[in-house]
Amino acid sequence: MTAVNYDCKDPSSCRPEQGEEFLDLLEERRKSSDIGHALRTFNPSPYRGSLSLTASDLNRTVMDSQYLRYIIQEVATETGESVDLVREGASGILVEMSQNLQLGFIRLLGFTLSKVMKRLFTHININPDGLRRLQQAIQDSPVILMPNHRSYVDFLVLSYIMFTYDLPVPVIAAGIPLMDMKMIGEIFRRSGAFFIRRAIGTDKLYWAVLSEYVKTIVRTGYAPLEFFVEGLRSRTLKSLTPKLGMMHMVLEPFLKGQVYDITLVPISISYDRVLEESLLARELLGVPKPKETTMGLLKARQVLNEDYGSMHVYFGMPLSVRQLTQARVDRCMYNLIPRDLPQRPSPETQVCVSWLAQQVIRVQERGMVLSPWSLIACLLLQHMQESHSGLLAVEGLEEGLALDLLTQETLWLKELALSFGAHLDWPKQLPEHQVMSHCMARHRSVIRCNQGRVVLLKEEGHVGAGLTTAEEGVVRRAGAVLMVAAYRNQAFHVFVRPAMLALAIRITNSSHREDIYIYFIFLLDLFSNEFIFIAGRSFQDFEEACSLLRKCGAIHTSQHEVTSTEKGQRTTSFLLALLQPFIDAYQVVFSHLCDGVEVFTEKQMVPAVRGLAIKLILSGQLRSYEALSSDTQKNVLSALLRMNAMTRLTTGEQSEFRTNKPSVRRIADTLAGRRPPQLIQTIPRL
């Protein structure tokens, strides 16, 4: 262990160490007493420059800050309220928000989680090298833990790991709904969670309290700060585009020179099976998610009896904000305004912060560990797409897919994934058929294998009022498909760049490198809310895709030419089929927008598109269930807004949008290959 930080300016291009060992945290828990574990001496080494404050010191520092005083004065002037009243308001916000990290509760949590985790998971695998790097990083500078967010389990598992390995327990940014759960909210609070309202909007005072709170935590080195840069739990198990508000707050102490450096630690948490899998699809299909309540949690105890396989927590390489922002932000711009006063980040800073967040997410993706099930899911969905509903066990009539074929394809895909740099958790000691059957057993809620043939199950139970039986059938099927799709999505980041390239080659029907590249950029742009692409890196992405496809023999490249090969047919068609559902879904939304009303709200659009998609599926014109997913629909919306094919008329809850139909049509045509892409940006050199 020499270097703690990446020494490269583009962390997303650095592969995690291949063959880095994992260590099972639960193994030790199964051998020794949980009480002993909970009561062990806990003596972590904190950040060297830490001011060792208590939780109430922290709050006092926030309330006394020049910044907050300034904003309170401003708000008082704006609203006409007295300063004292506004100050009280701020204090109230802080009380609602603030964490109250206590070692006793961490111990309680440690004990409880030991019990729960052992029931839920067979292994919790952690990379010990990552822990060592983290330990060093924590001492050197304030550390921001940045895990991906796929499950509620993410929430406390890092605290649990940190406690177990004698690292300072983090404070965690959490959504308000969690706080409202009786008792649990308080337990979370005392375990280090602090609570942030959803939809803060333009509440100036709230923003001020929150940002000062976060900045104070970072500046004083109070504890490592954990937050989910994706903002939300990903319902699709794909990475979400980063939310930047928190990111700005966290980075400000560095940009203003109040700390020497800040270390971002991307953490990849991967599950063989996600606890809330059945909820995911429902939420995407608009079946409201149950309110987070303590009773709900207790009722969910039945989950304790299920097999969720393993969980992998990969602590990525710590990223030095100082190094990464070096040539991107000129910190001198903060010299002319007192640092305690609010200052809008410059465009340069905004671009940099966004870039940094994308980098973190890419590093998270690269650290994900895939289970064989993710590969199986890719293949299952492709077969289903080809034979329409052929795989779905509708009334037990479908004959399904031959297990042997599936096994053989999975093994093929395994090699492809490995050659694309994926981390696979493929049990080496087991024969292939057992790996397959283990996976299918674990996911028996959606998949069955009868007499050597594999079938997908549809969702049971009531799915929504006001649907006819046929429509209801589609939604039920969609539930199952989207659940499997979520596991496919876990593997998407491995294939997406080569897939974009394959698509670009196919659509442009050209071997001219530049044509292909231009179309590739169009795809990156269009799908950049769907998949994570780092801004300004399209050329590297293209090169990377070329090199991967060349490596597996799917293309030939020369200086000016890129051609697909006969030999790579299988790879190419796999990759194309992988993208197809998204392309179909985007086209459905496009056609709705082109035919529908010009001005609408998001709330109006989602059911309308869903209705259209159901109709198309029923008539056999559409095979993509992605079109039903509200997530996809919203991504299309964001993409069109970004590409100026749509404008937002009002902001807030009830945003209205206006479609620029010709633009949407142009994009739809380009995606379908009916017209070449319009050059929006200047193309980097090839």
């Binding site: 420059g49 020179g257 109040q258 020497y260 450096d261 000129d330 910190r331 001198c332 903060y334 010299n335 007192p338 640092r339 305690d340």
Partner: protein, 666 residues
Amino acid sequence: MASNSNSSERQRIAQQRLRIIAGHLQKHEDGESGLIATECKAEAAGSNGANKGTMPKKRQEVMKWNGWGYSDSKFLFNKKGQAEFTGKRYRLSGMILPSLQEWFENTFGASVKQHKSPATPALNPGALPPPNLNAAFLKDLKATGIPFSHEADDRVFRAHGHCLHEIFALREGRGFQRVPDTVVWPNCHNDVVKIVEMACKHNVCVIPYGGGTSVTGALECPPNETRSIVSLDTSQMNHILWLDEKNLVARIEAGIIGQDLERLLNERGYCTGHEPDSMEFSSLGGWVATRASGMKKNIYGNIEDLVVHMKVVTPRGVFEKSCQGPRMSTGPDIHHFILGSEGTLGVVTEVTMKIRPIPEYQKYGSVVFPNFEAGVACLREVAKQRCAPASIRLMDNEQFQFGHALKPQVSSIFTNFVEGLKKFYITKFKGFDPHQLCVATLLFEGDRERVLQHEKQVYDIAAKFGGLAAGEDNGQRGYILTFVIAYLRDLGLEYYVVAESFETSVPWDRVLDLCRNVKERITRECKERGVQFQPLTSCRVTQTYDAGACVYFYFAFNYRGLADPVRTYEQVEHAARDEILSNGGSLSHHHGVGKLRKEWMKESISDVGLGMLKSVKDQLNSERPKWLHSFQVSRPCVSRNVQAECLSTTQQCIRLHLTHCKNRCQ
């Protein structure tokens, strides 16, 4: 406080105590006052011959040719491995410093016995390029009778200041690519006028040379300069021309060095109160040219506050104001073109400067703080209440320990015991962490009663920030450090340790962040660049202002194992300067820009600002503008010096780097 109990006794003694600097300074046997009231007459001065100042024409006869200060004064480790300071000039002279070796070896990982890096013993004149002489110029020069020299050692001595790379090159015997071709010693203003006129006429470069203490590379000759270079040594222009007791001002020739000025004024019962740490050697003209700052600026002001009038010789002629009014509203103050011009606009020849009666009473003091943060908070409060003593400086823990390593051998067991007791009280009883605590050193000055009152006020404020009064000795030792630090660098260079200092000024709220970040940056840069040993980084808040403070850094490391230590050093210092600027610090508080920091000038003062400076320079050199034009077309700038760029013209040229002075170690 142990130190306060016998304070009345001390106050009595303090009357006799030498004033801060006087105590460090050389005694003068010749009783000549140096006060003359007549205009210089070249022949008279020439025939008189005897030099009235400390600095002879042949400086190398009393000064080191390849290091800091007097030849007879230096640190060395004696056969027993103990450090001592040789000579008789300073308070530390002839003393044994028992803790220095241990501190030195522990701090740098150096070994006094094993790893030596001695300097080349003597200058090799053969290695020097022969002088590039301009015969016509020389002919005219001879006719004037102004003394000059082409001797190798004279030329080399004036080819450098005291930047690390310059001293390092001398020690290695490498010398410099380009050195002055002629050294001239004008005796008065009129001599300078003649020299500049001749230089313009014969296309010769002039580099003014004052104290030679520049730490910005300003004295470096551009390596590819093809014209003959004249070093204009102002050391013989060292008289106080007159003294006006009604207005408390004195007219002084700009070549006078600080110690002579102070000594001569003291004889008349006056002082300037301007005491940059380099004042032993730096010159008045240099102070003006670099915007110098003195230790006691809180009472007396910085150089720009002290200057009432000045006379400057430029290629366009002499400029001066027509009266000596204390303040004027006559457009932007033209003095401010010269203050900080670093020799690019002209040669300062005479200055009228404020003087003050010698203060009745002086007292040192010190305060120990539990940590640097508390100390900065205290200094900020002192500045806020505008009650700063003549000098108040806050040294960080590293510098505090450094200062302690310079403690001379204590003879009495009792003193040892008292010291031990004090240490016990502070670290054990008060719970100060010896690796965190830091000390503020104080110097009060004025009439006795006010000093005592002032002292109480400052100690009361300090107490609010957890500060404990820690006696006069600690205070005084802090100031000694700043005078001997440059000598200590020479010691380090004997044992593979390179060292340098740099400074900045910064708003109060950023002081702590800047100090921490710069030190951290240095440590990390050293590591990244393969420095095998932990570097020493230390800082002190050395001046306070209403809106901010001046911060001074020391930086040193053991370079064993490095191929090119000077380059590594320069890279790290460059990074440190970037860090300072990113943290809201200035490019320089008082050292100046020179060639060392030229590259940051544009971002520091903006394009327009730089253009303003350039246009002033153009004006002073545009006697025949068509040549300026041809210069721009045909010749790229030969100098790296930012100020030099617009000064050179093909036919008529003078390049003036008036850097008589470094005012190092503020």
